[in-house]
Amino acid sequence: MNHLLIAPIVLPALVAPFIIMTLRYHIDLQRIFSVASTVLLVAIALVLAVQAADGTVQIYELGDWQAPFGIVLVLDRLSAMMVLLTTLLALAVNLYAVGSKWDERGHNFHALYQFQLMGILGAFLTGDAFNLFVFFEVLLIASYGLMIHGGGTRRFQAGVQYVVYNLLGSTLFLFALGTIYAVTGTLNMADLAVQVAALPAEDSALIRVGAVMLLLVFAIKASLLPLHFWLPASYAHAPAPVAALFAIMTKVGAYAILRMYTLVFGPDVAVVEGLVGDWLLPAALLTVAVGAIGVLGSKEIGRLMSFGAITSVGTLLTAIALFTPEAAAAALYYSVHSTLAAAALFLIADMVRERQGGAIAAHPVMAQSGLISVLFFVAAIATAGMPPLSGFLGKLLILDAARDDPHAVWVWGVILVSSLITIMGFARAGTLIFWKSHGLDTSDTLAEPEIEVTGADQDAAPVPARPAALPFVATFALLAGLVALTVFAGPMTRYTAATAQDLFAPGAYIDTVLANRDRPVTESDHESAGYGTAAHGDGSGHGADDATTTEESH
């Protein structure tokens, strides 16, 4: 059993309570532990990615209970990739949060941040549908805490909407799981795959309802239209590092759709035939369109970025909704791109907001305008899917994969036209924010007297206020990630293609997870940690209460 599999979950789950217990009042120590933990997570994720790269599926049986009876974590190419992506993103964003001192503006930022990571990583790693629900809860509640970090009326308002909307989603999740369990009697995803495939076709209505409700839950997370309403306000008002980290949250939804609808409710499963094909693709295309329209129609930079994220995730869902290996491979490539680009966008939006407020209008030239405008330009290119960055390649891959689909004309049309609208939106915002400011009458600012040097330090050279470098490092790192994704598109697409092949041929996954299904439970398995005392068999005295429990269980 490879304990490294669970390390991405356990490590933040240890660091966070440790921070709460002992480092509550020491922001510097919190930073050290939080960043160190994130660095360690990156290292772990790298090792896991290397282990998974050859296509082997590893499982981790929690509590030594075999699937489907206990909970298993599963590491395959897909989960390894998502884990690595999450940790890399988390590291950059964490550095930004530290550098920009966002983490000081409220309480428990780093503890919540670690819990948030635990939730996301757990969602990617788990092989159990109910455990997925638990991790969804962890990441939801932690994200709510992070979202309202720093306070403020508008943030609270947005936060209430966010949490209420997502609690509705959680309720639906429970309904879906209840339905699925009531039909199949199992919650392990691999076991579900086996059971659902074996269901009689003439009795499909209930599992179809369960399956589609589950999809809707994930669609809420992924912000598919018309279930996206929680996103614009909450992303726009969330603290920048949090919004940047949230770039991965929509991918959790997309991941879950991809996982469940290839593994359990795959395209070949008879009972769910025709369940999503008719409406998921149009909804995804609508998401792209509404996102693009939002980009053009935004008056505030945070909302602009939010809609950029929506159109990006819409493109991703379009690829997923095609349900072919080629499209899935394209979707995976695009999801990496979309995550990094969206995160960069939110960080850049924050830099602008910190300097001049968020309105998309001309203001007096801000500090470091040139540098920030370069960052904005690059990130906008990436998001709009312009060459040469990975957004363009990802979009090409998706268009290419959609070619044989009967709705190809729609896919092409919507994605290409939306790209144009997105470009126009970003060009408008960029010129207004970064260029028009140069055209403003600057006589007022010039008229201001030079800073008077008073006091004892008159002889000393003036020390200019040095802007923090760390935020820029973090943003550059994200953009560098995009560049790497572009340059190494070949190897990357090889990996995603192999991943997609795995997804659409889940035999190995199912076999590995259920390999120990019939392993007998022996007591000796469970007493080796022992207290050094004599072990009993099932002594009669301890079995006395069997009656109560068997009665209760029915």
Binding site: I6, L14, P17, R24, G63, W65, F69, G70, G106, V134, E137, V138, Y144, G145, I148, G151, L172, A182, G185, P200, E202, D203, A205, I207, R208, V212, M213, L227, W230, V290, I293, G294, G297, K299, F307, P387, L393, L396, L397, W412, I421, I423, M424, R428, W435, G439, A489, A497, E523, H526, A529, G530, Y531, A535, G541, G543, D545, T549, E552, H554
Partner: protein, 951 residues
């Protein structure tokens, strides 16, 4: 030099100017020139091979899945364009060094310029249409930066955005076209595509692909009706205009048409689309140019016109026309770049480009005059300059082209356009340089320094030389390029005198007409100004403005921030989709029978329904709603108990108690009534949807409960192995702490986080003005006269140890009997909450020595550590172990790691509940004012002072 390096050099070079500008403007310009120059030299090294008709190829795989390879190849066509791009680029770098003023950020300029140059070189060297697309869009982006270079000018910003929008749109259309084209040919490599003419032209998708690709080419090359962006791109500094609009950007579309000419041209569709567009563009551009007073606008429209000319030639689809097109590309680049530079010089020296304010400059600026005159005469098509040669070829081809069987349309319009072309060329000379010297120039014009006129001078030298010695100068180049276009080995007969041909007549008519038009210019201009003309920029601005506003309106309308509406949409959508899922499936017969309804469940059911209905009725009265919620919770607990789930019942009931207390606390600070916010129809609608949803969920559950599992469920395993493998007889508890302990681990973290969030929220709220508001608020209902009744204080203190004992009891019996850490934690929390309620927050806090944060943290840590303990015996996380201990005089008892895990659960629950409670209580608490006396009516109290809490 490798083609990779040639394509990469401008990009690499782009890094330097922006940095080296700190070392001075010469350093910056030199570094730019060095990069271009090296690439140019590298290109020239390939010249002999190319002129022999060979091609050079290199390539590596970039994205093989897609067929996107970083393949480059150099043939005659690519060589011609690359030579122009790099050669004129060098001249522009020199010119710009002297053109830009000290205020202009020159480093940025050269960086953008080199980026653009790299993108252009990439286009012409690409051997893969997807790679070409990458560079294609890069030119749009870098030209956006160049056109908007003067950030402070609104024209610059708007022009940049317009250019980006139009050419970006074309680029996106082209993506579609290229993907189709590559699909037909089976490869995206140009050298492969060029072999598949028949397959492509016979494909059903030929026309869509052609149209999409042509949209790309036409937008880039400013063909009608996309021509309007080009004049507005003139807001850029003149070196940019000279570069973009003579040799590079606008020629990219022509290049693409020439590049794909072998496979796309030759069909009627191609002929009619391309020729017609070119013809219209040529005529419109020429006419408008004559009436432009801005020198650069005049040149811009003349560029549009000449681009139309070349497009038309490519559209003819004949080899001779292709040769003419290639030749005119060269000629146009030379004279137009020179003309733009002279316009820049005039602007630079006279501080105006308005023809109406100029005139008579030949005395003041003789050098510029000579350069401009030669270039303009070439543009007018006057022998022996190079413009004459290619115009002759154009007229010759036009003279025998039939348009819809009509032999006169094309030649007549070509001749008409040529006349206007001659006219505006003459005007450029006559109205700027000739005429009397004026004394009202905005500045005192004089010839610029050598650095500024060197570049145009070199270009007009070429104009003359190519005109005189065309075959020697550019013959091989034209042959090689035309060979690449036509995929054959043509030989161009470049010479001045072809004898008396129809073309010569037409040329003569054009020149004569040009002179006439210029003579009549003043009159014509009055007519022109009086005519209604569609102003493209106004239309475009209105269009994009409307689009932006409409987008903003849609977005604002759609996302109006109403949570009710959002929830409505979500619920409705879920309902519809679920019904769709149900309706498209089939449902089998029930496998279970309905049970008889007993009296007790019936009573409970009625209570539940009545309480729920009451909530609907009275939900605006929040206290009543809270009580009703309590009733519902109680019935649910009873139901759990009735259905033999005592663990669930215990949990439910303690959760109910804690929740109600917390909600009461919160309600303390909230209005006691909910205002009616939505109008009646909306409420009716919401009610209807709620009922539908309720029916849907009810129906689903009903259907589920009438059916057995399709296969034996996993719970059978849990029942069978709880004791054997988990060491406990309470299966629910074993599931919680062992089988699915990991879920529990997650859930206690959820609980802990929730408490942390409540704490953080409280802190955030209390750090604002809200705190003062809370402290000064008037209670909205009568307060109890005695906030800490003595009786209650006494009772709760006595109950505390009892309650804790119960918690301990529940905790320890958990593994085998109903109970466990979760329930025990809630009971313990209730025991402490009682103290807070009875004795006051201040009193309780003083006695609370362990911070709740720490309790939560320790709970999670203990649970995690228990899980980690298993690693030491080589078992997975959370593997439990248990054993039986016999310590005399006690009876034998069981020790299980699960109990340790449960302890973590216990602590986390206690900590979380208490932290939430404490946080909520802080809203009313005034720091620094401790509650001195918990028992307000303690008779032993000697101070009579009022407890501040009561105030």
């Amino acid at each position: 030099m490798s083609l990779f390096l040639i394509a990469a050099l401008p990009f690499l070079g782009a890094l330097f100017p922006a940095l080296l500008i700190r070392a001075g403007r010469n350093a910056s310009a030199s570094s730019a020139a060095l990069a271009s120059g090296l690439a140019f030299v590298g290109l020239m090294l390939h010249a002999p091979a190319i002129l022999r008709g060979e091609t050079v190829q290199v390539g590596i795989d970039w994205l093989p899945v897609l067929g996107l390879h970083a393949n480059f190849f150099l043939d005659g066509l690519g060589f011609l364009f690359a030579t122009m791009i790099l050669g004129i680029g060098l001249l522009i770098i020199l010119y710009a060094r002297f053109y830009l003023s000290r205020q202009d950020p020159m480093g940025q300029f050269y960086t953008y310029l080199l980026l653009f140059q790299g993108a252009m070189v990439g286009i012409v060297l690409s051997d893969n249409i997807l790679l070409l697309l990458v560079f294609w869009e890069l030119t749009s982006l870098s030209s956006f930066l160049l056109i908007g270079y003067w950030k402070h000018l609104p024209e610059g910003r708007q022009g940049a955005r317009m250019a980006l929008t139009v050419t970006g749109m074309g680029g996106l259309a082209m993506i579609g076209g290229m993907l189709i084209l590559g699909n037909i040919a089976g490869s995206y490599d140009i050298s492969v595509i060029l072999q598949h003419k028949d397959a492509i032209q016979s494909s059903d998708l030929y026309l869509p692909a052609l149209i999409l690709i042509l949209i790309g080419a036409f937008t880039k090359s400013a063909q009608f009706p996309f021509h309007f962006w080009l004049p507005h791109a003139m807001a850029a500094p003149t070196p940019v205009s000279a570069y973009l609009h003579s040799a590079t950007m606008v020629k990219a579309g022509l290049f693409l048409m020439a590049r794909l000419w072998p496979v796309l041209a030759g069909t009627p569709e191609w002929f009619y689309i391309v020729t017609t567009t070119g013809l219209i563009t040529m005529v419109i551009g020429a006419v408008i140019a004559l009436f432009k007073d801005d020198l650069k606008a005049l040149l811009a429209f003349s560029t549009v016109s000449h681009l139309g000319l070349i497009t038309m030639l490519l559209g003819f689809g004949t080899k001779a026309a292709a040769i003419g097109a290639v030749f005119h590309i060269i000629n146009h680049a030379t004279f137009k770049a020179a003309l733009f530079m002279t316009a820049g010089i005039v602007d630079h020296e006279a501080h105006t480009r308005d023809i109406k304010r100029l005139g008579g400059l030949r005395h003041l600026m003789p050098v510029t005059f000579v350069i401009a005159t030669v270039a303009a005469l070439s543009m007018a098509g006057i022998p022996p300059l190079n413009g004459f040669l290619s115009k002759e070829m154009m007229l010759e081809e036009a003279s025998h082209t039939y348009w819809l069987q009509n032999p006169y349309v094309v030649p007549a319009l070509a001749c008409f356009a040529a006349a206007f072309s001659a006219a505006y060329s003459f005007r450029y000379i006559a109205h700027v340089f000739l005429g009397p010297k004026r004394d009202d120039y905005p500045a005192k014009p004089h010839d610029p320094g050598f650095g500024m006129w060197a570049s145009p001078a070199l270009l007009v030298t070429l104009v003359v030389l190519i005109g005189l010695f065309s075959a020697k100068m550019v013959g091989p180049l034209v042959d090689a390029a035309a060979g690449a276009v036509t995929q054959s080995h043509p030989h161009a007969h470049l010479k001045l005198w072809h004898g008396v041909t129809p073309a010569l007549y037409m040329s003569g008519i054009a020149v004569g007409g040009g002179v006439l038009l210029l003579a009549l210019h003043a009159g014509l201009e009055r007519i022109w100004t009086a005519l209604p003309r569609p102003e493209a920029k106004v239309i475009f601005d209105r269009l994009t403005g409307a689009l932006t506003e409409r987008s903003a309106a849609i977005t604002a309308r759609l996302h109006d921030g109403s949570l009710t509406r959002y929830a409505l949409i979500m619920v409705t959508f879920t309902l519809v989709i679920s019904l769709f899922a149900y309706g498209t499936g089939t449902i089998g017969a029930p496998t279970r029978d309905l049970q008889d309804v007993g009296l007790l469940p019936l009573v409970g059911w009625i209570c539940l329904i009545v309480a729920t209905a009451c909530i609907v009725l009275f939900h605006r009265q929040r206290f009543i709603a809270l009580i009703l919620i309590g009733i519902i919770g109680l019935i649910v607990s009873l139901a759990f108990n009735f259905l033999s789930a005592p663990d669930l019942a215990l949990t439910q009931i303690s959760v109910e108690v804690v929740t109600i207390i917390l909600m009461l606390l919160a309600l303390n600070f909230l209005p006691k009534q909910t205002p009616a916010e939505s109008p009646v129809p909306a409420r009716m609608r919401d009610g209807a949807i709620s009922i539908l949803c309720g029916l849907g969920v009810g129906g689903l559950i009903y259907a589920l409960m009438l059916r057995d599992f399709a296969v034996p469920s996993i719970s059978e395993f849990h029942l069978a192995n709880a004791y054997k493998g988990g060491g406990g007889t309470n299966v629910v508890n074993v599931i919680l702490v062992d089988f699915r302990g990991f879920d529990t681990f997650g859930e206690i973290i959820v609980l802990g986080i929730a408490a942390l969030v409540i704490f953080a929220l409280t802190e955030a709220v209390l750090s604002t003005r809200v705190r003062a508001y809370l402290l000064n608020r008037e209670p909205d209902m009568p307060q109890a006269g005695d906030s800490h009744p003595g009786l209650m204080v006494v009772v709760t203190r006595m109950m505390m140890p009892v309650a804790l004992m119960v918690a301990a009891y529940i905790f320890f019996r958990g593994h085998n009997l109903p109970g466990g850490g979760f329930i025990a934690g809630l009971i313990a929390a209730i025991a402490v909450i009682m103290q807070y309620m009875a004795s006051g927050f201040g009193w309780a806090t003083e006695r609370q020595r362990i911070p709740y944060h720490g309790i939560i943290g320790s709970g999670v840590l203990i649970a995690a550590a228990t899980g980690l303990g298993a690693w030491f015996s080589g078992q997975p996380f959370l593997t439990s172990a248990f054993g039986y201990v016999h310590l005399p005089p006690l009876e034998e008892f069981e020790l299980a790691t699960a109990a340790l895990f449960d302890l973590g659960v216990f602590l986390a629950v206690v900590g979380a509940v208490m932290l939430a409670l404490e946080s909520l209580s802080r809203f009313a608490w005034q720091p620094g004012i401790p509650t001195e006396h918990a028992m307000d009516i303690n008779p032993a109290r000697d101070t009579a002072a009022q407890d501040p809490k009561e105030a």
